[in-house]
């Protein structure tokens, strides 16, 4: 089971939880598991066609999944996924 870190702007949709344990062999499966547990997150991560929104950045450890194999990137036990939000406050 990997853990997925939720940034503050999205914690409103995870009941305030900051780290969620997710199951799945790939990043895509792990994300699916996340939005199954917290359906209110789905519209923030996926667009109407079911693909990941372009401004959503998901990192496996220190690397952007876009630089790995995208949603097909394998995830193993103890891996840490980070969701990085677009924020603009100053």
């Amino acid at each position: 089971m990997a853990t997925l870190r939720i940034p503050t702007p999205l914690r409103a949709y995870t009941g305030g939880n900051n780290e969620i344990t997710v199951s799945g062999n790939t990043v895509g499966d792990a994300l699916n598991d996340l939005v199954t547990i917290y359906p209110a997150l789905r519209p923030h991560l996926y667009n109407g066609e079911g693909s990941l929104r372009p401004f959503v950045n998901l990192f496996l450890g220190e690397n952007n999944i876009k630089d790995l194999q995208g949603l097909a990137t394998p995830v193993s036990e103890n891996d840490r996924l980070l969701l990085i939000p677009s924020i603009a406050g100053g």
Binding site: R5, P7, T8, P9, A12, N18, A40, H44, R53, P54, F55, N57, F59, E62, N63, N64, D67, L82, I84, P85, S86, I87, A88, G89, G90
Partner: protein, 384 residues
């Protein structure tokens, strides 16, 4: 040729001169440097103060706002004595009080595609302390097109981000965020709030990166993004790569000049709340007060968050937070006359768009929200 230091300056900067990595030459470099700070708000406050204190010779400030009471919870460069004064003037006074040996240039104007090139022309380094997506994309593209480093910082509630985007040596902001989020999906600090000390932490980190770049010491955050969370007290670093298809910094860019960033982001280039739905769909607080006096049935729909009710509320209003509205439309009757409100009119404008798309027609958006009501109709309510 680097400028020399007077005896007073040598005394002022003695703690810098004692560090071998800075020394006399480093301090002279700081004196010769020029930095443009976009925004003199939460992030701009510590950035401008520390760069002034450190002896950066020329600092430009861009902002067009005046100091407001609600700024003082975090914008520590301003004070009660400068309420209502132009932010750039308020900041310049404080900086020159801290260090009269520097030059502070002020640009009391919005930072836009029309003036950005001109304003930024004479500065070596740009610090992004803005509060909205259009100005962040503008700042990024400007830095890529002119080959200047962009010291980026951004905040929301308890989260902060810091990086140095220098397209000559690494990725740019657009490599990480090719597109802005759809309007309304990410709340601003004016809507969602921010812990007052957070911009202090993030702005100080930006100032640190700026000084390192000027001095040419240490490892700048190029190709790395720092993610800070105050609640968890966590600092995470992730690697950023240059996007080979980046629209502005790739070898064959689509964007070769500054564009209309408000159109690109679909939101205005500021973080002021001024929601409006358009002709015929707004109602002013005085119009609402008159309508309420007629005694005809009118549903008041409050789309704020539950914890905001403690601050102020309107008697008899129905609370459905904006985030829940789409799934709770069945609780509302489209045959009823309805006025939707929030704090200042931004969220209610979005709620109205949602209601209109769901077929509601007897709905109005309260311009200025409950804050306008408190100001113009019921002064017993606080403004927040």
């Amino acid at each position: 040729m680097l400028p020399g230091l007077s005896h007073e300056e040598i005394l002022r900067y003695s703690r810098h001169l004692l560090i071998p990595e800075v020394g006399l030459e480093g301090q002279r470099r700081l004196k010769a440097a020029s930095v443009l700070v976009i925004g003199t708000g939460g992030l701009g406050s510590p950035v401008a103060l520390y760069l002034a204190a450190a002896g950066v010779g020329r600092i430009g400030l861009v902002d067009y706002d005046v100091v407001d009471y609600s700024n003082l919870q975090r914008q520590v460069i301003h004070g009660s004595s400068t309420l209502g004064i132009l932010k750039v003037e308020s900041a310049r006074n404080r900086m020159l009080d801290l260090n009269p040996d520097i030059q502070v240039d002020v640009y009391n104007e919005p930072f836009t595609s029309y003036n950005a090139m001109q304003v930024a022309r004479d500065y070596d380094l740009i610090i992004d302390g803005t509060d909205n997506f259009p100005t962040r994309y503008l700042t990024n593209d400007l830095c890529v097109l002119t080959g200047k480093p962009n010291v980026y910082g951004s905040i929301f509630r308890f989260d902060g981000q810091v990086s140095v985007f220098d397209a000559r040596r690494g990725p740019c902001y657009r490599c990480l965020f090719p597109e802005p989020p759809p309007p309304g999906l990410v709340p601003s600090c004016a809507e969602g709030g921010v812990l007052g000390v957070l911009p202090g932490t993030i702005g100080t980190l930006q100032a640190t990166e700026a000084l390192k770049l000027i001095l040419g010491i240490g490892d700048p955050l190029i190709g790395k993004l720092l993610l800070y969370n105050a609640l968890d007290m966590s600092f995470d670093f992730v690697n950023l790569r240059k996007n080979p298809n980046c629209k502005v910094c790739s070898p064959e860019p689509e964007v070769t000049e500054l564009i209309d960033y408000e159109a690109f982001c679909g939101v205005p280039g500021h973080d002021h709340e001024e929601g409006t739905v358009g002709e015929g769909w707004d109602i002013t607080v005085t119009e609402l007060a008159e309508r309420m006096q007629t005694g005809n049935h009118l549903r008041l729909l409050d789309v704020r968050e539950p914890h905001e009710l403690e601050i102020s509320h309107l008697e008899g209003a129905t609370l459905i937070p904006l985030g829940q509205l789409a799934s709770r439309l069945s609780e509302l009757d489209s045959a009823e006359d309805m006025v939707v409100f929030c704090k200042a009119g931004t969220r209610s404008a979005r709620a109205l768009e949602l209601l209109l798309s769901a077929g509601f027609r007897k709905v109005k958006n309260l311009k200025g929200g409950i804050n306008a009501w408190a100001k113009e109709v019921d002064p017993s309510l606080p403004i927040y």
